[in-house]
Symmetry: C2
Subunit: 391 residues, 2 copies
């Protein structure tokens, strides 16, 4: 049965043309399976089981809970778990030992009230937004370990030995996770964030160019095709809704060690800032599409003196600049012609401004979008300059 | 020490003027503390401990892990945990029993390979976007229980009894969580979603009115105040970035039982759709602010024939309609004048369209924003009508 399943999975792998994301997903599944087999082997070995006893179960639990898709998330969860366990064990043992000296029903009351106070305090602490972002899991594990250790103190077992064994089996589990997630085809949160950022540039470039296409269709009196608009809309919306996943990735990326082209203290926060400007740009492009959609008849010829060409060239320049920057970010190279491009954009912007008074609605809408694009664009390029300067 | 801490916390509660959110947070902390004390008492009772042994630990663990901020999240996590545990226990016991018939080293190999296959499959399954949204935690618990049960089968203990005790202690933990999160000052995810939606309407209404204010400042030749713009910007950005938290709330809300004004099968998905149109509207308002910001000199008088008044009335009408709808949603009442308002908006839109050819940039930009607003607005009102129809 097992062999059949294996061969089936393998045939699926070779037979089907898989996308990059799916390969990563399959690889991740295999990695988790591998880690669990390794940790189960530890549990099965007599030597280990004699030493740690049923506490070896905690190693299995750690692997299941800590192993995440990206290396950064695994590391962050593991460190949180370690810190939470140490703190919880320490405080829990203290409470258990102190209450053992009381004895009688006083003991149960002392343990109960200290559990209530510490747990309520830790839960309140955990709900603060800043803590929630980075140390939520650590606080959860602290609560868990603290209550388990202090409550098992009621039975008066050897708490210190228990905590020590538990801690060392968690360490073993974490070590296995760490090893596999760093050395076996790692998925770095930093890489994912990097790629998602450069993809955003491409998407926006495509949208801006799509807008221009749509606009030329309108000028020629045709109805713009619906499919282009749908593409633009979905591109913009996907850029707009990327904030929370970006933030999570940036958080994990800060936990990752030196890898590939990213050193320690790599400025991941700049990525979030660029992401914010790109989201704003996406809002502008989205509203531009909306404006184009509400146009019903083509504008009169005489209103378009030279404006059409300028609009087109602005859109083209913006699109190509966005693509260029996306490529530069992807390859982490600085771009010599950046300043020249910016000057060009600025000139076009001024030209558009001066020729606006005699033009018609659609043009103006289009322009204002382009102007806005240009403005927010300049600021994002500025940020980019800073990043490249830092790397 | 404990008494002192208690009185300190109580004095904090009465002394400090707390916001609504903070009261909820403090209440949640107390609830978690209470649940853990209850479950610890169970562990301390001789009768329970004699029956369940150290498996009672699992009840503590369940309370810590399952108790979430909103009732819906607690229920969803608890049900996921229950289902995952039952499935994992069942399959794990099967594997353990079958492999016990093999014996020798073959046993370890059989267990190891079945762990690998099932875990890899479940992990792959877990990464699929649709599963990840609703059943992620259940799959995690399945992996955990399955590997724990099947691996402890190596030692040949009484697996069936072990699983039964573990399952019943998890049930006890879940029952305590359920009781406290539903009956002790519950925080419903549905209520939170409802309020966040009506807040969004208010924020957008404020932004639209702010834009108009800014615009009249510009017409009078003054520079618009920076603080208004900042407010508008932050309002729009907070609406834009609310997608993921709304989706999580809507997911939890579907798990919640009948409460307050919300029945079973309440159409929470409509809330997400309205949220989407509001986010689009926020994008339009945001780009409108950007356009206002890039205006440098006031427009010539003669270009403004009657357009200013129309813009103002459109903005006013939009603002008040948004507020009205927000209030209606909040109180779940239908609004009789809705159709009249929509007709008014449509008329204004047409008027703006016809008077545009002789007007200047700023007006046009403003108009297009208003037109767009009107369009997307109509669709959101339409959706609203459906919801109210359903409740």
């Amino acid at each position: 049965g097992a062999l059949f399943l294996m061969s089936y999975v393998l045939s699926l792998l070779s037979w089907r043309q898989m996308k990059d994301g799916e390969i990563k997903r399959v690889a991740h599944s295999f990695k988790v399976g591998l880690a669990l087999v390794l940790v189960s082997l530890l549990y099965m070995l007599e030597a280990v089981h004699d030493k740690l006893g049923d506490n070896a179960m905690w190693a299995v639990m750690t692997v299941v809970v800590v192993f995440e898709f990206t290396s950064g998330a695994t590391i962050s969860k593991g460190l949180n778990r370690g810190a939470g366990t140490i703190l919880g064990c320490g405080l829990g043992s203290l409470v258990a030992l102190l209450s053992q000296e009381i004895g009688g029903t006083g003991k149960a009351v002392a343990i109960g009230s200290s559990v209530f106070i510490f747990v309520a305090a830790a839960t309140y602490f955990r709900l603060a937004p800043k803590i929630k972002k980075k140390y939520d899991y650590g606080a959860l594990i602290f609560i868990l370990t603290f209550s388990l250790v202090s409550v098992s103190g009621v039975r008066g077992d050897q708490i210190i030995i228990l905590s020590r064994d538990r801690l060392s089996s968690i360490m073993i589990g974490f070590a296995i996770c760490l090893f596999i997630s760093i050395f076996v085809s790692p998925v770095w949160a930093g890489d994912e964030l990097h790629n998602s950022l450069s993809n955003k540039f491409d998407k926006l470039a495509e949208s801006v160019e799509g807008c221009m296409e749509d606009y030329t269709c309108l000028l020629e009196g045709k109805k713009g095709t619906q499919s282009i608009r749908e593409r633009i809309r979905s591109n913009c919306l996907s850029v707009l809704s990327s904030k929370s996943s970006d933030e999570a990735l940036a958080n994990f990326a800060t936990w990752e060690p030196w890898h590939g082209r990213f050193g320690f203290y790599y400025p991941w926060k700049k990525y979030l800032q660029i992401g914010d400007s790109l989201r704003e740009l996406a809002a502008y492009v989205l509203s531009l599409t909306g404006c184009l959609q509400s146009i019903n008849q083509p504008p009169q010829e005489f209103l378009l003196n030279g404006v059409k060409e300028r609009c087109e060239s602005t859109c083209k320049l913006m699109g190509s600049t966005l693509r260029e920057i996306g490529k530069n970010i992807k390859n982490m190279t600085s771009h010599g012609q950046r300043d020249i491009m910016l000057v060009k954009l600025e000139n076009l912007r001024l030209e558009l401004c001066s020729s606006t008074l005699q033009s018609s609605i659609e043009m103006l809408v289009n322009q204002s979008g382009a102007i806005e694009g240009g403005t927010s664009f300049t600021s994002s390029v500025f940020l980019l300059g800073e990043i490249i300067g830092k790397v």
